[in-house]
Point group: C2
Chain length 458, copies 2
């Protein structure tokens, strides 16, 4: 056995798939099914309290599609699992040759709207399902959650602090990325900072304070190293005594021409404590010092803190954002919507199972705005219709080659900010948001009705 | 910017850390603080409805500790972040030189019991915090959750099916690993199967059925490829009609000397449908065919299904287990419990913050059993006490070198099974389990009382 150890990451993600993708593909091959098919990747319904999705994950999806390759080790393993020599031979030469359309990352989206649309020989289009779902699920879930946290903070900076409880290494990296897209100022994750050029932030832990005989000694030791940007954690023993000690050290720094950045609160009644600490600091002429708060925060708690008049200048948000703890997944699915008949015609496909209806045919999404540029409604149409709006899905791959320049992370972040600013408030409420109108075009509706009739009579 | 793409996993995880670990370490260095310190990694409290933890993650933790190394690229980045040349120089030669004690993976554990105990120069012991928490949080959370699902299934096989909604690549791998430790039969994740030698399972998706003109054609096509181990998904259009079609294909296979494995249900009222499908199959002499069920399952739903007499032979459990969706994190923390005085004496350390009390000193955990070998209670004691039971923490590293042979995954899985079998039922109830007794030794209690007094008078 080769144990999967953290640094031995496989050089490609081709085997990062549910087995059933491979069993289906093996059977498609045996039955000579190479006809083109289209799959939509979309979210079936919004999680509770969410009024929109903030789409993220396309860069990693494209990178995956561009790099699928089955190695000798992969093929030997699959042979042992009982796959036929014929299928192994097929995989040996496998590359993804399809067309892909997608919303750019940072686009706001709604249920049933295709986020990624894959058209490829059915065996290829099927094979890529698991990875696409995995990467879009995580990043869209976190970008959506983090955008709510940023909104709740009303312009005050939010830093992503959840690394220790995010689900493993890749989650740590992608949560930092998706949170930054959604408007966080940065992350505590140093590796993400380095790899993605995201600003990194950090203060100190209680253990640092406890490693010294007295709190004030710990503070002095820390500012000796960082005289111009220290944030001191003041709740190890008692917040107000801690604030006093921080003020003492701030004054000592001032005498040497430096400024203490601020203090951090990590427990207790943050509203009451922040008010008292603010007053104490101001009384000592330390109005410039900021109060940073952390400790089990999420959008709901931040909203409550600010509603109660807490004197908090910035937020560190960890576990609840980094795991999307109130709903740690989105209902993202990947569904066949079109396949080619034996006679070469494209035939739209629809599923009718209870609560699991899908929309047939190759589709496009159009967004309508009012005169001020605010979003009014979306229309899902068939791909060969032309409505008088910018389509949201753009072509990102043609014949397996990327036709889309990956934007920088800051460009994606700007797009998200612009999209969010144009979504009216009623759809962004943190609890019970209004349902944003998503309509079907007349042609799509007619097609869906026709197929429903046909399926019911089947 | 070098984008962090999935296959470009860094060769070591040294930078996978919260920035504050590095800022604290930089300050320890500036203040010449190299004295040994001990940190406990433990879970503060159990998530709702959990009566125990199933510890997992040690293998990855040890691998991380053995391989910390800061590369030129790391150091250049940290220099740019404002760290001093002195600290960069320190990191250049950094290696972990500490002693580590831990519970073996697959051990049942309870709140406040050290799972991993690190003794090292404080600067080293602090630096490793984030990664240890990240890997233990994910794997212990999932092993615990999965063990509950396996228990609910009452001996019927459970397969881990959650890859598409697990949080990224590393989570996909570690969830498969931790679920297998907890007693799952295998996973849908092919890469995890290959890397960890875990059995892989897969059937077919609705898209496969929909890619054919008729359901029965899809079934025939599939069994052509897998004549001896097919499980056919029968709910694409109508479960009972699907079961009829599966029965037709099963008879065709029989005529050729093959056997159809079973059918899979993925939606609807699984109890009612499974009973009807079982009856239909038995009426056709297909008693050997198994019924596999999936679709938003977790321990609570499986318990309910079996209580209602569902005729289900095996379960595929995905999102809710793979994200631990009712509680997607455990309260795992890493706390300083001992440091060395300037005069060379070890001084126990304790934290008193509201709801965040920690236990002082270097500790060991002892487990008591009754005559039948069932667990009765645990005692947390000081490390230099000797109680008349096997200690649970064993030494796994000495002076930075591993002193422990990593067990195989199947050995860990056996240990988990044995541990779980010895934990009495009342602590394993799926809802409102009894609280397992964890006591403090007299010496530890006296020490905690003494320090509490001292801190209160401080």
């Amino acid at each position: 056995m080769t144990p999967f150890l953290d640094e031995q990451k496989p050089t490609n993600m081709s085997m990062f798939t549910d087995l059933y993708e491979l069993t289906m593909c093996a059977s498609y091959l045996d039955n000579n099914m190479f006809q083109p098919a289209t799959f939509d990747l979309f979210v079936r319904r919004l999680p509770e309290n969410r009024g929109y999705l903030l789409f993220a994950g396309l860069e990693q999806a494209l990178h995956y599609l561009e790099n699928i390759e089955f190695t000798g080790e992969h093929l030997a393993y699959l042979r042992k699992q009982g796959f036929s020599q014929n299928f192994i031979k097929y995989l040996e030469d496998f590359e993804f040759t399809g067309d892909v359309w997608a919303m750019p990352e940072g686009t706001i989206a709604f249920p049933c709207e295709p986020l990624i649309r894959v058209t490829a020989p059915i065996i290829e289009a099927q094979l890529v399902e698991t990875f696409l779902l995995n990467t879009v699920n995580l990043q869209t879930m976190i970008a959506t959650k983090a955008s709510r946290v940023v909104q709740a903070a009303r312009g005050k900076p939010v830093v992503e602090f959840g690394l220790r409880r995010e689900h493993g290494i890749d989650a740590g990296m992608k949560v930092a990325r998706a949170s930054y897209i959604a408007g966080c100022q940065g992350t505590s994750n140093v590796l993400a900072g380095m790899e993605h050029d995201i600003p990194v932030f950090g203060t100190m832990a209680h253990s640092f304070v406890m490693a010294f005989e007295n709190e004030v000694d710990a503070f002095r030791a820390f500012v000796k190293t960082f005289p111009d940007k220290s944030t001191l954690l003041i709740d190890t023993y008692n917040d107000l005594a801690g604030a006093e000690n921080a003020a003492v050290v701030a004054k000592e720094l001032e005498a040497k021409g430096h400024k203490l950045g601020g203090v951090r609160l990590d427990s207790g009644d943050l509203t009451e404590i922040s008010k008292k600490v603010r007053q104490l600091l101001n009384e000592r002429g330390l109005n410039h010092m900021s109060i940073f708060a952390s400790g089990d925060l999420d959008e709901y708690k931040i909203q409550e803190l600010l509603n109660k008049g807490s004197k908090i200048d910035a937020f560190g948000v960890g576990t609840r954002m980094g795991t999307s703890s109130d709903r740690p997944y989105v209902d993202v699915i990947y569904k066949l919507c079109e396949t080619q008949n034996p006679n070469g015609e494209f035939a739209p496909i629809m599923k009718l199972s209870e609560g699991k209806v899908t929309l047939p045919g190759r589709k496009q999404v159009y967004r309508y705005e009012d005169k001020e540029g605010s979003y009014v409604k979306d229309v899902i149409a068939l791909a060969d219709e032309r409505l008088d709006q910018e389509p949201l899905l753009i072509q990102v791959m043609e014949d397996g080659k990327r036709t889309y320049e990956i934007p920088t992370l800051n460009e994606v972040r700007s797009k998200a900010k612009e999209n969010l600013s144009r979504l009216p408030e009623q759809y962004k409420k943190l609890t019970d948001p209004q349902v944003y109108p998503v309509e079907l075009s007349k042609m799509l509706e007619d097609l869906a009705n026709k197929l429903t009739q046909k399926l019911m009579n089947h």
